[in-house]
Point group: C2
Chain length 360, copies 2
């Protein structure tokens, strides 16, 4: 089966890998200035919740930089016959937490150049995400246009932690640039410290396991906002990918959005369709971590209510603590071909459709 | 069928009804001081989202104070054969938004005395909620003990908008008092301005219909927090009622809480059961506004996953814009007797079980 992993983290051992890709004052600041830890740490505002086990699988222990790829190849790509891995970086999305958007943008630029230079040539299965710092949408749009025509770049990526809901017109220059380059806009769980708004209502909460369970709240806010603000009327072909934010909450939010829109649609006269219709045409959800009810039929009814057959994209989240391998994806068996691979081809348009599939 | 409405709003035309129940400086401040509008307004920090239709049904137009009861009797209680109406006030829960907790407490005390004096004697179907200002838990606990033994008081009520998640030990004096008086602790959608934390992640959002759809986020945070902080280990018989916050999101949150707890339970060694088990034994959800999917089977699978037969309480939300009457409660028919009435008797223990039901 053709398998696309839409959330494959290309780790580094040390953020010093970015140094050759920086210059001027921000290189000086990155090398000499304050960081979130000792040399090698990536500067970002940290969440107030600390993972009691750390984020990485304990069987993935790179010592040198090249181990990161070697381990990924051995424990993930080759082991599970992954055909396409969308690289999502790791710490760089945390640039969204910095007050200085110029510094955040410089870090993102350095990461993008490093990723294109170091990671993409390593493996023909790799396709890249441009990471941008959304706190200055004009700078972010410049970065999207600088690299967006690279043939192996397939999406623009930010953290789901943000200063305001992503439908806000403040962010529209980013979607303008995405639409121009034909790239989807993706948000990945993260960026919950620093300048970003509290990621959950009535927060902050206290423990990591408690908090991680409710972090999808920001994604709910972004989904509602992108739809209500008319982003998909302005850019009808724009796809938004929501990564690692859970999926089973989607129907409950769409049901409320649809009911409220029907009653109060005069607030947003630019919309032409129900919120759930914009979801189905424009938003895609990555599977990991897929919810795990006692009775899988309860999950499957939920996935059916969100047209999961067409809206879900398989993701492994390699090499994180709650990594899902391909064999553990408990979705309806008839959906596997689409969710594991084909749906991704409609989102990441630069990835060629394999000949075997085109012929089917 | 025996029907309990667990969210029936006793309106006033003007907050000046509270004046006879206040004294001293805070009466002076209430009469002469700044309010959220002209004389008759209730002082509170207002949400940044304004309802484009107003909150009330447009066919409920009280002119004099006594019209509020007359209209409720005509359009709701008598029309739908309601046996028990749990009065939930209306604006008073907004006292939670005030920076001055002493003033907030004085307003709640006045409301509680007014409610007991004016509303409870009007109709034998009425049972009351003590509203407290949670921003000073010690004052709130005093108020619970002052009135908690009144034979027709059946719960303690706050807004779901709050300064921090309700499991926080900061709030435990409230649960101590609830447990002592044998009363459930209820939170109702509201209290989203002033000192309270943003009610949604990555907020604020923009439009009313958009925002209303995602306001349950704070309830998710409170549910996770009450469970994780061990409130139901400290007070095993405490019931928590979550009112008007939607229900279909509950399984998605419980599935993530259970999965994370299984992996990282060492963070909270005081817990003895899965989060979903605490939910089923200690938390109850009011139905209104019940989600309305195109295919009701999708909703019913969701409700089954949260043991809705035993965890749901019927609510009308009279006289609000999105009022649900008894006939429109689209739950599995076999559950109606429990959800419409019997489940409430296990929560509101002072309401006598009708003889006809006891005999069944």
């Amino acid at each position: 089966m053709f398998i696309v992993d839409s959330d494959c983290h290309n780790y580094w051992c040390s953020a010093t890998v970015l140094e050759p890709y920086m210059d001027g004052f921000f290189k000086d600041m990155f090398v000499r200035g304050e960081k979130t830890g000792p040399r090698g740490a990536f500067p970002h505002g940290h969440r107030p919740w600390f993972h009691p086990e750390g984020f990485s699988r304990h069987d993935v222990n790179p010592v040198e930089e090249d181990d990161n790829y070697a381990l990924m190849k051995e424990k993930h790509l080759d082991k599970y016959n992954i055909d396409v891995a969308i690289l999502t970086g790791d710490e760089p999305i945390e640039a969204s937490t910095l007050a200085n958007a110029h510094y955040a943008n410089a870090l993102c630029r350095a990461y993008n150049d490093y990723m294109i230079d170091y990671w993409l040539p390593k493996d023909s299965r790799f396709w890249g995400s441009i990471i941008v710092a959304p706190q200055d949408p004009k700078l972010a749009a410049e970065e999207i246009r600088r690299l967006g025509s690279h043939p192996r770049i397939v999406q623009v990526l930010v953290s789901h932690g943000a200063q305001r809901p992503y439908g806000d017109p403040f962010y529209h220059p980013i979607y303008e640039a995405c639409a121009e380059m034909g790239l989807p806009f993706a948000m990945h769980l993260g960026g919950q410290g620093g300048v970003n708004s509290t990621p959950i209502g009535a927060g902050p909460s206290t423990f990591f396991w408690e908090t991680h369970a409710i972090l999808p709240q920001s994604a709910m806010t972004h989904m509602a906002s992108l739809i209500a603000q008319g982003v998909f009327e302005k850019w009808p072909s724009l796809k938004v990918v929501i990564i690692e934010c859970g999926v089973a909450w989607v129907p409950s939010v769409l049901w409320r959005l649809d009911a409220n829109y029907k009653a109060l649609r005069k607030e947003t006269p630019w919309l032409k369709r129900l919120p759930s219709e914009y979801f189905k045409s424009n938003i895609r959800m990555s599977t990991q971590p897929l919810e795990q009810p006692e009775n899988v039929q309860h999950l499957w009814a939920t996935l059916e209510a969100m047209d999961g057959e067409n809206t879900l994209l398989f993701a492994s989240d390699y090499p994180h603590w709650d990594y899902d391998d391909v064999t553990k994806l408990h979705i309806p068996p008839a959906w596997r071909e689409k969710v594991l691979g084909l749906n991704a081809l409609d989102v990441y348009r630069r990835i060629p459709r394999p000949a075997a599939i085109a012929a089917e």
